[in-house]
Subunit: 142 residues, 2 copies
DNA sequence: AGAAATGTAATCATTGACATTACATCTTGA
DNA sequence: TCAAGATGTAATGTCAATGATTACATTTCT
């Protein structure tokens, strides 16, 4: 299964805020036009980013901006905010291995540390990239 | 989104083959009893593992065994076999960013290298663990 | 031939993603 | 103060994937 497009949309949102923030008010309609998804989807994602403390959204008047310098917002921050995993676990374990079977009884504990390490490797790599890196790459291409 | 339980089931299958292979014929019904899922699901996963060249399945007579020494079968092999990703990409990119927007036009190329590195970090960690490691851990607990 | 398996198609329930409509609520400016 | 422009969010709908289940054709060995 793939990681939801909410993640790349979240990055896209920050890139727009940084690149257009001085000239435009960054509304959900504005973002929806650049990202090309429904504005309600954007508002849902903005809500998740806001709950994670990554952005500030102005009610009534409208518009949104980053709550911290974009050098300090990593891919992992965005991932955590928008792609909430059940109990934070990347791997979906089969639910009811047979406890009467020597393998079924022990498979979970035998696997857990390894699965955590794999998940950790991905998350650590995610922490290496910030919104600022993406914005820099986009500006290089303008 | 989580990685499908087919992955942990696939590992479980190998563990059963190794631990019970001398005493039992490893049929889909036998595996289904230990894993506690429907035998047809098991047969589907066995079919994927077979197509990947990881196991051999006996038609008619029944039973399955690893096609290679389990020291040489990594988590990544199993993952690739059972959790086929669309074009092999872990991240689902939003499909149609606006090409008339400077950000929309460039977001994909600005992100791709970083997303590949993140996916690569996960896959590399997966390559570090083999079925033999799991079997060893299970035997330790018996 | 018959028993025991695998291979696979068909159907179903459930879940999550994303789209869309609708409307309540908030804020500010005229 | 009220109308315009936004956000917040509930309700519905479509689509795809997972996993359960039934059914049956096919294969192999005895």
């Amino acid at each position: 299964m793939q990681i939801s497009s909410r993640f790349t949309i979240g990055i896209h949102v920050f890139a727009c805020m940084e690149i257009f923030g001085n000239d435009h008010k960054i509304t959900s309609d504005f973002l929806a036009a650049s990202i090309n998804v429904n504005p309600v989807i954007i508002r849902k994602i903005l809500s998740q980013l806001k709950n994670a403390g990554l952005i500030e959204v102005a009610r009534g008047t409208g518009g949104t901006k980053a709550a911290r310098p974009i050098e300090e917002i990593t891919f992992y921050d965005v991932y955590l905010a928008v792609d909430l995993l059940e109990e934070g676990e990347l791997f979906h374990f089969h639910e009811n291995p047979n406890p009467a079977c020597p393998v079924g009884k022990n498979i979970h504990t035998a696997l857990d540390d390894k699965l955590l390490r794999i998940q950790g490797a991905m998350e650590n790599e995610m922490k290496k990239y910030t919104i600022a890196d993406v914005v820099k790459d986009i500006k290089k291409r303008l």
